[in-house]
Subunit: 405 residues, 2 copies
């Protein structure tokens, strides 16, 4: 009997996670707080600029937008990407950029380009769950690499690679990582480690996917050079407009060598990414004051981050630890006591707050309990109620646990 | 040394084809005629309805459109698909539909769901080149099945299947076909054969991808039931708004069992297809008078088809044969004498007309010379100039050939 391809892996983590990040499990309670949603604050969408650009396209360019090939949209978006990339020392030509349906399709295409079944891919521990899903779908062999406060552990990587060579073992094909405001930990990879990773990729002959989705949500004055800038032939760089403009735009990109870009275009099977949206976005970017906009994003999200940190201190006290992120959307909470993840999820939900359990970011459940909290989507008032409810849920579980001892 | 996955097949045909269907090879001559473009006539885009719907979304719903989840767009599009599907005897629930980035992504997802490397897939000879590319990318084993005037040769299929069973050989995993106004031949699959294919798929345990991209461009009063209606658990049905609304919309869909749909959702890695476009399209479809619209499409395209047929008769006379399509965009021209495809392409281009060479629709170059002509995109005046130029190019090649004999 013919079998449906059964290697479409759904990890237990993803199965657990889906209802919490989707809209399937919505509470009946209108006061329920979704610290699980990794979405931007819709109050920060540049609605006026989007509206104006849409109206301009309707007025001047609607036929191009409705045809396969589009008009000048793609070209304008690529110009913007090239220009903006200079902040991160990226040096790009138009033919080194592929516009994709969000960062999701960029992860999908780079995975399919590089990974054959059983190829080894290294990721940070923890890492983005949909990247994990992509590597599972490719039947790749995922290995998780420890992180410290400055990002992925470069000494561990170097030792592993030396060990592989010494013992005549296979080198991983690929390293996937998020150097800026990492999802879920919020950490930023040290400049010196970026340089070293580029050297290692060349020396040991592997590739790097540099997923830079959160780079524009930056609370500092600094822009750390991308790994891509140190080894452009080894690094496939992923960007997206989801956080800086809006997720509904569904436009992301891959920057890589022309050779790789041409290969990945084949996955499109002909047509390009939404011409309609590209015309609007391209028109909008022509005049969009990006600097004041990202300044506004940083100000608002930093304030929400600070509110969440202060609420965590108030309601959790010393029962948790976390890293203070310099950007992005997330705080990654380590609970001092290990609790059952499903129990925590359920109890928190019943207390009126949704979270994402840390297990979702690992290949195998870790020995400690972590929680990803998103401060971007909720209001400061919701953040406080959410953190208070989560603390109550956690403490009630601990209390019951101790009581039954 | 790590190798980039080298099995990303670029067939010679595709390499030849790319410049002609893309925008890479544009003539400097403003009078050049592109009978190669498989695009709709932009004069038929429902621009007013699109504009109104866009403005309504801007007015009432722009925040939903810009967020990951979107608003009611997806739901409205699915209702329309369910309702419209009844014309073709399709009985669908919402959870049996996946909205994709055009039919291209639908082909990609169904291929990745069903095909493991070396799995056998049967296709019509000739077939859509980007479906061929998708199967190549999946490392599948493609076999081409003959067609006659009533579509794919069902006797040939039946004999092949009986032979496989008798000789204890593997049954193909998948049959991919275009039952209505087939690309490139314009043929329609006989109702009785659809019923038989459904029976064979059940009996021999294979799956069918029913690519129905051209179904709305129908010059007859009849709607033939879809193969899906005879074996919904065996058939993955693909539809698209590219021909009936506009290609720039980049919205297609797959109709299949909930089990299959849930699996294919995983390929999205989280977010759904463009919420912005789905909000606009969903809003538009709510009030869009589809029947007068498809009537207008049929009237215009039928007239262009008739013009092309009459021009072929005028300029080619008896040196070609072709099938008269009852819908769709294409005429598939058999040239009576075999000529070198690259020579024909080049000579035609120099005479001011672009075409798609028949070889692109085959796994291996066939022993006869065919040409796909698209009558949808060009004006009737362009069609006449294009056909006249192509005939001149063909006859000059034949003349030279005979001269050098």
């Amino acid at each position: 009997m013919n079998k449906i391809k059964t290697d479409i892996a759904i990890t237990k983590q993803l199965a657990t996670l889906e209802p919490l990040i989707g809209r399937d499990r919505q509470s009946q309670n209108p006061d329920h707080v979704y610290l699980s949603f990794g979405s931007p604050d819709p109050n920060l969408f540049p609605v006026k600029a989007w509206r104006n650009a849409t109206e301009e396209v309707l007025r001047t360019n609607v036929i191009d937008a409705l045809q396969y090939a589009g008009g000048k949209g793609a070209e304008r978006i690529k110009s913007w990407i090239i220009d903006r990339g200079k902040l991160r020392n990226l040096t790009l030509d138009e033919d080194q950029i592929l516009i994709t349906a969000g960062a999701a399709q960029a992860i999908d295409f780079t995975t399919r380009l590089l990974l054959n079944p059983d190829d080894e891919v290294w990721v940070e521990a923890p890492t983005y769950f949909f990247a994990l899903q992509s590597f599972h779908l490719a039947d790749a062999n995922v290995q998780m690499i420890p992180m410290d406060a400055a990002g992925i552990d470069i000494n561990y990587i170097t030792e592993q690679l030396e060990d592989r060579v010494k013992n005549n073992k296979r080198i991983p094909k690929l390293l996937y990582l998020m150097p800026n405001f990492h999802n879920p930990t919020g950490k930023t990879l040290l400049l010196e480690r970026r340089r070293q990773l580029a050297i290692l990729a060349r020396k040991y002959d592997f590739y790097i996917i540099e997923d830079d989705a959160y780079t524009e949500i930056n609370f500092t004055e600094k822009h750390v050079p991308a790994i891509h800038s140190f080894a452009p032939e080894r690094v496939l760089y992923i960007g997206t407009f989801s956080k800086v403009i809006a997720p509904g735009v569904r436009i992301g990109w891959i920057a890589a060598t022309k050779f790789f870009i041409d290969k990945m275009k084949l996955f499109m099977l002909g047509p390009q990414t939404s011409p309609i949206v590209q015309e609007i976005l391209g028109t909008m970017l022509e005049e969009f004051p990006i600097d004041p906009h990202v300044h506004e994003l940083a100000t608002t999200y930093r304030s929400k981050r600070d509110k969440m940190i202060s609420d965590i201190q108030t309601y959790f006290g010393r029962t948790v630890t976390f890293h203070i992120p310099d950007g992005g959307f997330f705080i990654w909470l380590h609970l001092k006591e290990v609790v059952d993840p499903e129990d925590l999820l359920e109890t928190a939900f019943n207390h009126g707050v949704s979270i994402v359990i840390g297990d979702s970011f690992y290949k195998e459940a870790p020995h400690r309990t972590c929680v990803r909290l998103c401060y971007s989507y909720c209001s400061e008032e919701q953040i406080e109620r959410g953190i208070a409810s989560l603390a109550k849920a956690y403490h009630s579980i601990i209390h019951n646990k101790n009581f039954h001892k």
